[in-house]
């Protein structure tokens, strides 16, 4: 246990050396928050609800989805790609913590950096956009945890591609753009056209942001948790398999 905490501590100090980058990571959600709030206010234009969704529900959605997106945004894909390309992954492989576990600990370390960032974004969000009380706080916390874990799995699967191709190129960027939609970070699923909503509901990304926020708002419950649990089991198994394969065939670059 202590070795895991020590590893996390080191990763956190390392992330904290790049203050400038952290500052930008902070500007991003604040901007998203203000822009989305402006858009939805224009959509509602004085009406108290649209399609049965009240304005306070919608502003709460914006606040929370922004915070969740901030939590999900993780450097791990970039980190793995760079370690594999440079051959530094060879060094990681001779550490006494298994490589996959190192990545999970790295992801957990980033949460420790995200919490103080959220402490900045949260009050701004509450004041500028608004927040209603949670419908089911316990269930929401559980769903948030599951959503974070699912997101970890998805990112680890993307990162693993680097073991085969050595580069992820535009893939990461594409993923971030697409995931903003598919996770429900920009637009809640209930406002999506029927065909898109069906497609999104069959994909795992909605379980990262949309499900916990919907549970907070009382629009989903144990059903949502069940779907999340299923995705977590499936993706978790995929991660273990893919990483095992990757480690078996790993080719370390450079002398």
């Amino acid at each position: 246990m202590t070795e895991h905490l020590a590893f996390m501590r080191t990763r956190i100090s390392e992330v904290l050396t790049y203050r400038f980058e952290l500052l930008f990571q902070l500007i991003n959600p604040l901007l998203q928050l203000l822009l989305l709030a402006a858009v939805w206010r224009a959509v509602y234009a004085g009406k108290s609800d649209v399609d049965g969704v009240s304005v306070s529900t919608m502003t709460t959605y914006v606040t929370l989805s922004t915070l969740h997106t901030l939590l999900m945004h993780d450097q791990i894909v970039h980190w793995v790609e760079q370690r594999v390309r440079s051959g530094a992954v060879g060094i990681d492989l001779v550490r006494p913590i298994p490589l996959l576990r190192q990545q999970i600990l790295s992801q957990a370390s980033q949460v420790a950096v995200k919490v103080p960032m959220m402490a900045v974004v949260f009050p701004v969000a509450v004041v500028t956009t608004g927040l209603v009380a949670p419908a089911a706080p316990g269930l929401y916390a559980l769903s948030t945890l599951l959503g974070w874990l699912i997101n970890c799995c998805v990112l680890l699967l993307i990162a693993a591609v680097a073991f085969w191709t050595l580069e992820l190129g535009g893939m990461t960027f594409l993923y971030y753009v697409v995931s903003q939609f598919l996770s429900g970070a920009l637009v809640p699923l209930w406002f999506m056209p029927g065909w898109l909503r069906t497609a999104v509901e069959w994909l795992p990304l909605q379980a990262t942001v949309f499900t916990p926020v919907a549970i907070y708002l009382g629009k989903d419950g144990w059903g949502g948790i069940g779907v999340q649990a299923m995705w977590l089991v499936l993706l978790g198994a995929a991660v273990v398999l893919v990483w095992r394969r990757a480690l078996h065939r790993v080719v370390v670059q450079g002398g």
Binding site: T2, E3, A6, F7, R9, T10, S13, E14, T17, Y18, G87, A88, G90, I91, L93, V94, R95, P96, I97, P98, H248, R249, V250, V251, V252, G254, G255
Partner: protein, 325 residues
């Protein structure tokens, strides 16, 4: 039972076959055709606990690839390897606890953090009791003279400082085996000397088993009791440096200073060079003992001084590399 045992180790790398001619780049990209490079080709050796072995060979011989298999980084294509009873690639973490490794070209230290932070993390990762860690840290800071840069971020260290930091990180948890892949590359003579002394001390006082690759024959002369020489992934020689010299360069040289210039002819020795009162003689010590040669010289010529030249390992190795296919 040997500590490190390799039996018929093979490692193949695959890479896309390069096309030439029209649209070469595009054709390389879409082609599924791949060529195989056999980097290590049936290497076997066994190393007993406490040995200090030099693993030598020209560029691209397969040294680093072998070390990557011994450390568990790479999975062998064929063959078997055990280190302290563990198959490294099967049980990477168990193996990691038994070994320390320094890659000269690459660092295990955390780039952005002060050196001491990396060492502290290593201490924790290997579950060292605090007092043990403190003792070893103090010892290594002293031995490797790291006090002046212990709190400096690794990215600001010079190559020699970083290498010392890497050695400390590899050894602070007292592993039984140490792999050194070109630990002195790019270092100045003083820094090289310091690292050699550290490795020699480690080997003699802690009994650490060391496998060292280097292109610096001074490292080998200073440290290794045994050499394994490989080329094209195959073992060419495995034995002591002295026996290697004897088999590849049996001749030794005697430099004779004369009071006045004169022709020197003695049985069993050949004149290699002569002039200005200095004569260099070449002889085979198996046939002509050095003592007999010297007493004959003193008896017949106005000799003021003689010195027996050590066979230079560098020359021997050069000769072997030059003679390869």
């Amino acid at each position: 039972m040997p500590l490190i045992e390799a039996r018929g180790l093979v490692k193949d790398f695959h890479r896309p076959r390069r096309r030439t001619g029209r649209f070469a780049g595009l054709r390389t990209l879409v082609s599924r055709e791949r060529e195989t490079v056999r980097a290590v080709d049936g290497v076997s050796f066994s190393i007993e606990s406490g040995e200090l072995v030099g693993y030598l060979g020209p560029n691209g011989a397969g040294k680093s690839t072998t070390i990557k298999m011994l450390t568990g980084i790479l999975t062998p294509t064929a063959g078997e390897v055990t280190v302290a009873g563990v198959v490294p690639w099967r049980k990477r973490q168990d193996n990691a606890r038994n070994i320390g490794v320094v890659f000269g070209q690459r660092s295990q230290l955390w780039w952005d953090l002060p050196l001491v932070e990396s060492l502290r993390l290593v201490g924790k990762l290997y579950r060292m009791p605090r007092t043990r860690y403190e003792e070893n840290l103090a010892k290594f800071v002293e031995l490797l003279d790291m006090r002046p840069f212990l709190d400096t971020p690794v990215r600001q260290l010079s190559l020699g400082q970083r290498m010392r930091g890497d050695l400390a990180a590899a050894m602070i948890y007292e592993p039984a085996v140490l792999y050194l892949d070109e630990p002195t590359v790019g270092l100045d003579v003083i820094a090289k000397e310091r690292i050699r002394k550290f490795v020699a001390d480690l080997s003699s006082t802690s009994g650490t088993t060391v496998l060292l690759t280097t292109h610096d024959m001074d490292d080998v002369e200073a440290l290794c009791e045994r050499l394994i020489l490989i080329d094209h992934g195959k073992v060419l020689y495995d034995g002591t440096p002295a026996a290697l010299k004897d088999s590849y360069a049996p001749q030794r040289e005697l430099v004779v200073q004369l009071a006045s210039p004169c022709e020197v002819t003695v049985a069993g020795a050949r004149t290699v060079e002569s002039g200005e009162g200095v004569v260099r003689l070449s002889f085979d010590p198996a046939e002509t003992p050095a003592a007999a040669l010297i007493s004959e010289l003193f008896g017949n010529y106005p000799v003021t001084d003689v010195s027996l030249q050590e066979t230079d390992l560098e020359d021997v190795i050069k000769k072997i590399y030059a003679g390869r296919s």
